[in-house]
């Protein structure tokens, strides 16, 4: 029920996102182009310039919402965002290094921006996550140890990232800062497809873990007693969260707060025992695509989407927290 409403919201925001822009379209025109009845000029604007950005907003938001729901449930802690797995800080370092050390963003030009930057970010994120996982391994994975090591690695990498920015030319530093708050303005189909593809693989795999996630809430010992293959379950959950986050962050930069706030909003809307995977992903999609819609259509000037997700998402969560008492309050 909640999921259906959210799905409708995501579709609505997607269509709205296609209508809004420097050359506004009516809903009929948008639907016309989508069904193949538009003019070539309309098709170019809509399908080549606007659609990638709308799809990126939806896919990035859904990936972050899903990853956040997985890590928060796995660690039994609402503060455990995918960031604690080291993905985000690793991706940030990869991207900032590419911008600041790769000869500067303008020197390398558009191809790097479209493909090289996401690639270095993805590599940075995945390598760091593997490092955190490896360092946490001690006859298996203990979620507490994983969080502490993730926080340590994140702090170290953020330091290196800040150092690179401090050393960089002012234009590079500005580009890096733009990237670091999360930005959808540079995306093209080339950087959107990887996110969609990863989401298409990760979402069903994660969905297969829902019952194990529920059993895991009873504590490790009871979960094993109920037949959860704990080691494999953890590896799958962590891998899904890492891949979804790495793909999202590579395309858009770290969209602040989406991975933390979406599962918490999903949890309160669905009033369930743990952040529901589908609802969290849909809240993420609505949040990020909606924030980007605001950025493009309502606010003056181009502001990075990450600023809006934090400014809209956080107060909404606080409002939900103060309004609802009882069910779903603790997590």
């Amino acid at each position: 029920m909640v999921a259906a409403v959210l799905l409708a919201g995501a579709v609505g925001i997607g269509l709205g996102g296609l209508m809004v822009g420097s050359a506004p379209f009516t809903l009929q025109e948008v639907l016309g182009v989508l069904t193949g009845a538009g003019t070539p000029a309309q098709e170019l604007v809509l399908l080549e310039f606007r659609a990638p950005r709308v799809v990126a907003g939806l896919a990035v938001g859904a990936s972050l919402g899903l990853a956040g729901a997985l890590t928060q449930t796995f660690a039994r802690n609402p503060l455990a965002t995918p960031d604690i797995l080291g993905v985000t800080s690793g991706a940030a370092l990869g991207a900032v290094a590419a911008i600041c050390l790769g000869g500067g963003i303008y020197a390398v030009g558009v191809p790097l921006l479209a493909l090289g930057l996401p690639a270095t970010a993805a590599v940075g994120g995945l390598v760091t996550a593997a490092l955190v996982y490896g360092l946490s391994w001690r006859h298996g994975i203990d979620s507490y140890r994983l969080i502490l090591i993730g926080i340590g690695v994140t702090a170290a990498l953020s330091g290196v990232t800040s150092y690179l920015i401090a050393q960089a030319k002012i234009t590079d530093a500005q580009a890096a800062a733009q990237w670091l708050v999360g930005n959808l303005s540079g995306v093209s189909w080339a950087s959107v497809w990887p996110v969609v593809a990863v989401l298409a693989v990760v979402a069903p795999v994660a969905a297969f873990q829902t019952r194990n996630l529920s059993a895991g809430q009873l504590g490790d010992e009871l979960a094993v007693g109920l037949g959860v293959p704990l080691g494999r379950h953890r590896l799958i959950v962590i891998a899904c969260a890492v891949l979804a986050t790495a793909a999202a962050v590579s395309a858009s930069g770290p969209v602040e707060f989406a991975a933390f706030v979406s599962p918490q909003i999903g949890l309160r809307l669905a009033r369930s025992a743990r952040p529901p995977l589908a609802a969290s992903a849909l809240v993420g999609a609505v949040l990020v695509a909606g924030a980007d819609l605001l950025v493009r259509g309502v606010l003056p000037g181009e502001r990075p989407v990450g600023i809006i997700t934090a400014m809209v998402g956080a107060p909404y969560l606080i409002w939900l927290l103060t309004r609802r008492r009882g069910k779903g309050e603790e997590l």
Partner: protein, 277 residues
């Protein structure tokens, strides 16, 4: 193999159980007979939970083997084990925003699969478990609002809903008042008699252990110091060795099972308890 040649429900053969430091047990062998209620007793830290964890594949032995009805645990898929053996750990976690019925329903986890989701049989098992533990009236309550004793009954209900031929219960009567302790252990006894469920549990109260068990196993200093029927095991000498307790043992006037009565002055200056930090 037990003396009469039957395959035991659970058997440990030469197991060494270790956390990070020195072993809690070394080359321990122990067989748990089918259809019996067996209770582990011993001082705090004597290794009761550790042994229970090894029988429930929560702790892999450093050496030796644990087998379930003759099959090695380490070779069985964990879900298959979960359909035969239920575990109630000493400290399970209560999930937030979960009703008692939802909590108990999670006991059906090992019986479900993607192609076999919730069925009438699952629902019936959950209702029966709620009924048996007297929780039917509380089924819609948020589990986190239950009292300690009600919560403990909810955990027992979860184990019952799992419908396994074997149940391992670590201190199932903690937090319960005396009346509810008797009720829960009476329930365990009834399930044992009616369903033939083999029960291996940990209890601290020796009087209750003697009253509700077919067999008692006393652990101290990393080994079994006594093993047998309650009357064979609960002797002043064993109590002194295992608990550092001076006590008399007499027949319970109601049930005729052993009643442990600590001697005057014991507890004030008795010998140190073995295995305690």
């Amino acid at each position: 193999m037990t003396a009469d040649g039957a395959v035991p429900a659970l058997a440990a053969e030469g197991v060494t159980l270790t956390y990070d430091r020195e072993p809690v047990f070394e080359s321990l062998s122990l067989a748990i007979g089918e259809g019996q209620v067996t209770t582990l007793v011993g001082a705090n830290g004597s290794g009761k939970s550790t042994l229970l964890k090894a029988f429930g594949r929560l702790l892999a032995p450093r050496a030796g083997q644990v087998s379930l009805s003759g099959r090695r645990l380490s070779t069985m898929p964990t879900r298959q084990i979960a359909r035969q053996l239920a575990i109630l750990p000493q400290k399970p976690l209560t999930p937030p925003a979960t009703t008692v019925r939802e909590l108990v329903s999670r006991g059906r986890h090992p019986h479900q699969a993607w192609l076999r989701p919730w069925t009438g049989r699952d629902a019936a098992a959950v209702e029966a478990a709620l009924e048996a533990t007297g929780l039917a009236g509380l089924a819609e309550r948020d589990a986190s609002t239950l009292s300690g004793g009600q919560m403990q009954r909810a955990w027992i209900a979860l184990v019952l809903a799992q419908e396994t031929p074997l149940a391992l219960l670590d201190e199932p009567t903690t937090f319960l008042d005396l009346a509810h302790q008797l009720e829960v252990l009476g329930l365990v006894r009834r399930v044992n008699q009616e369903r033939g469920t083999t029960v291996l549990m940990v209890l601290h109260d020796l009087w209750l252990a003697g009253r509700f068990s077919d067999r008692l196993i006393v652990l101290a200093g990393g080994r079994v110091v006594a093993d047998g029927t309650p009357w064979e095991v609960l002797t002043p000498a064993t109590l002194r060795e295992a608990f550092g307790l001076e006590a008399e043992v007499m027949p319970d006037p109601v049930t005729g099972t052993p009643l442990v009565v600590p001697a005057a002055g014991s507890g004030a200056g008795g010998p140190p308890r073995p295995g305690r930090l």
